[in-house]
């Protein structure tokens, strides 16, 4: 063998790239890149007028393309040389993320000036900060950043190998770290949230990567189907496999916010600007649960007797800790954060089920929960006093007398979170619990119902505070604008429709679940 042939690379073939199937993601990323160009070349006063429509049109176009992909008769297959699985669950999740992102974008655009700082780089409380606020500038970078985050969220659950999944995870997380630190009021709290989220997120990414490396050592591939195939062959190091699964789970469960990887969630949700909290609580959760579904259903399905006990424990802890700790919260955003943790536990019961009905129930739950969450956070942005949003629960006292409609809608959202019949929350919970019970996880379902009852206590307590106590003389007022009202109305409509008439959506989720790629 001479030295020339050593240096010659093996034959490289251009990989096939199915642009049509990847189009929803490409449109979102493309809109984000155009947004960055707009930041560079459009005059400062005109930027907002360019960025908001651009982002909205980008998300809407991506959603239309997703719908077209979902309802066209063409057989779908893994795109980009098998790196991205464009199957039923992917399309369902991407469509859900896009709609929820559009609703969150309405909130972000509405409050671009008074929820986000005008100059993120200025030191809190410094003269530079005062000046930039007096100028009335808007940090319009939030729009491209949001689009990049949404693009990452779409790639994360669609990834068919662990490295692509990691890229999706980072593309989703990095803009969110930045966006968390941009709140206009209580700057220090916001920056603390951003730093905490960044450090813990980077830490969890490292867990994810190490798990990927160990699984590569076990299976010789990072492709999910190859890991699954390696499982059915005997041989290979059991230690590498189990350690890899455990570390990978840490990375995924961190993003879902499952106990014991949850402590970042209340701090970050509280510190971040509320529109961004809405985006994180809805879209990020959908993306993270979607990715966990794909990993556990496609790669580790045959290993379920090993990871299920772990997942049982995590689901029980998540539901109980989320519901119990929420009771002691006095800040509305922190309370919703703990509520989100508890809902993460309910979603995990759907993953534990490891069946087609578990998959479809989890998909339905994600959509139902996302809409309710965006609506609830939209109302949190509306209740304001002289210092900005009235975060403390005590400040919400008597809201039902001052603005009965808004308080009524918020009460309805809370009842949906609690899972009262005729709301989407009930249908979703019923579906995942039924799937889990069919999968043999009856004790888990009992814990789930118990923690739902505990959770109902603090949801109802907020309703009592709103309707049955006297308002303070300087109580916050409700600021209603057309865009926020649209977001609330859409969230409300979805919550009612998915509660009263859930069958079409359940069918859609069920149909999507049948198309999961396994090989």
């Amino acid at each position: 063998m001479n030295s020339v042939s050593v240096l010659a690379a093996p034959e490289i073939h251009a990989p096939p790239v199915e642009f049509s199937q990847l189009a929803p993601m490409l449109i979102v990323f493309g809109a984000a890149i155009v947004g960055v160009l707009a930041e560079a070349f459009v005059a400062r006063p005109a930027r907002y007028a360019v960025q908001f429509p651009l982002a909205l049109v980008g998300l809407a176009a991506a959603f239309c393309w997703t719908l077209w992909l979902g309802f066209s008769e063409k057989p779908q297959h893994a795109a980009a040389d098998g790196a991205v699985a464009v199957d039923g669950p992917t399309l369902f999740i991407q469509g859900t993320i896009l709609v929820l992102a559009m609703l969150s974008l309405l909130l972000i655009a509405e409050r671009a000036q008074d929820a986000f700082t005008a100059q993120a780089a200025a030191l809190p409380g410094s003269e530079a900060e005062q000046e930039s606020m007096a100028d009335g500038g808007i940090q319009t970078e939030i729009f491209p950043l949001t689009l990049f985050a949404v693009g990452g969220m779409m790639l994360f659950p669609a990834a068919n190998d662990l490295l692509t999944m990691f890229v999706g995870l980072e593309v989703m997380s990095l803009p969110l770290y930045l966006l968390c630190g941009l709140a206009r009021r209580r700057r220090l709290l916001s920056q603390e949230a951003a730093v905490k989220y960044f450090l813990l997120g980077a830490f969890s990414s490292a867990f994810f990567l190490y798990g990927t490396a160990l699984l590569y050592g076990y299976a010789g591939s990072v492709r999910l189907s190859a890991i699954s195939a390696a499982l059915s062959r005997s041989g290979g190091s059991e230690t590498l496999l189990l350690a890899g699964v455990a570390l990978l789970s840490v990375g995924l469960l961190f993003k879902i916010g499952a106990v014991p990887f949850h402590p970042w969630k209340p701090d970050v949700y509280q510190g971040a600007p509320t529109p961004i909290t809405a985006l994180m609580a809805s879209c990020t959760v959908v993306a993270a649960v979607g990715a966990a579904l794909r990993v556990f259903y496609v790669a580790f399905e045959t290993l379920r007797w090993d990871w299920r006990p772990m997942m049982w424990g995590v689901a029980i802890l998540t539901m109980m800790v989320g519901a119990i700790v929420a009771i002691t919260q006095t800040d509305i955003k922190r309370m919703l954060a703990y509520s989100s943790i508890a809902h993460g536990g309910f979603l995990l019961t759907g993953i534990v089920a490891t069946s087609e009905s578990g998959l479809s129930a989890t998909l339905f739950y994600l959509a139902a929960y996302g809409f309710t969450t965006v609506g609830a956070f939209a109302i949190v942005t509306m209740v304001r006093d002289t210092t900005g949003e009235a975060g403390h629960l005590g400040r919400w006292a008597g809201l039902g007398r001052r603005s009965p409609v808004i308080a009524g809608i918020f009460a309805f959202f809370l009842l949906a979170f609690a899972g009262i019949p005729l709301t989407s929350g009930f249908t979703g919970k019923f579906a995942v619990f039924q799937a889990a019970a069919d999968g043999g996880a009856v004790p888990l379902v009992i814990v789930g119902v118990l923690s739902s009852a505990i959770a109902a206590f603090f949801y109802v307590r907020v309703i009592v505070v709103m309707f049955f106590s006297e308002p303070e003389p300087d109580a916050p007022s409700v600021v209603t604008t057309a865009t926020t009202a649209t977001a609330v109305a859409l969230g409300l409509t979805a919550t009612v429709v998915l509660g009263v008439l859930p069958q079409p959506m359940l069918d859609l989720a069920g149909q999507a679940a049948t198309q999961l790629f396994v090989r």
Binding site: S3, L7, E11, I12, A14, E39, A40
Partner: protein, 120 residues
């Protein structure tokens, strides 16, 4: 063992070049010592002593370092692409790399227009 001969030759060359540079520099170069020359690094910040409270770094350093990494990564991608270029049939390879470079250029345009390249 034939496999390792190029590696060994390259290693010997690298070592020889390093030794040559260091020895020749000290033998033939002028020796006009001043304060800057005796610093650990001839540019950038003083590594010691640590200022009270850790000191604050101008954010420009990070910006420059980040830009460097962006273009560094771009070049790292360009090299293997250039080596394998003749194996891509048709325009595919060219278009893909053009897309990648345009994306990097967008970031560059943003930094340039927003004053990231001005040091003061």
């Amino acid at each position: 063992m034939d496999l390792y001969i190029p590696v060994v030759v390259l290693g010997v060359l690298a070592f020889g070049f390093a030794a040559f540079s260091v020895v020749m520099g000290s033998l033939t170069g002028p020796k006009r010592w001043n304060r800057a020359k005796l610093d650990a690094y001839e540019c950038g910040i003083e590594p010691t002593p640590q200022p009270v409270g850790g000191g604050r770094f101008p954010v420009k350093y990070y910006l420059t370092a980040m830009l460097f990494i962006v273009f560094d990564i771009e070049i790292i991608f360009l090299y293997p692409w250039a080596v394998a270029f003749d194996q891509f049939r048709g325009l595919f390879g060219l278009i893909e790399m053009a897309l990648f470079i345009v994306t990097v250029l967008v970031a560059y345009a943003y930094v340039w227009r927003r004053g990231g390249l001005e040091w003061d």
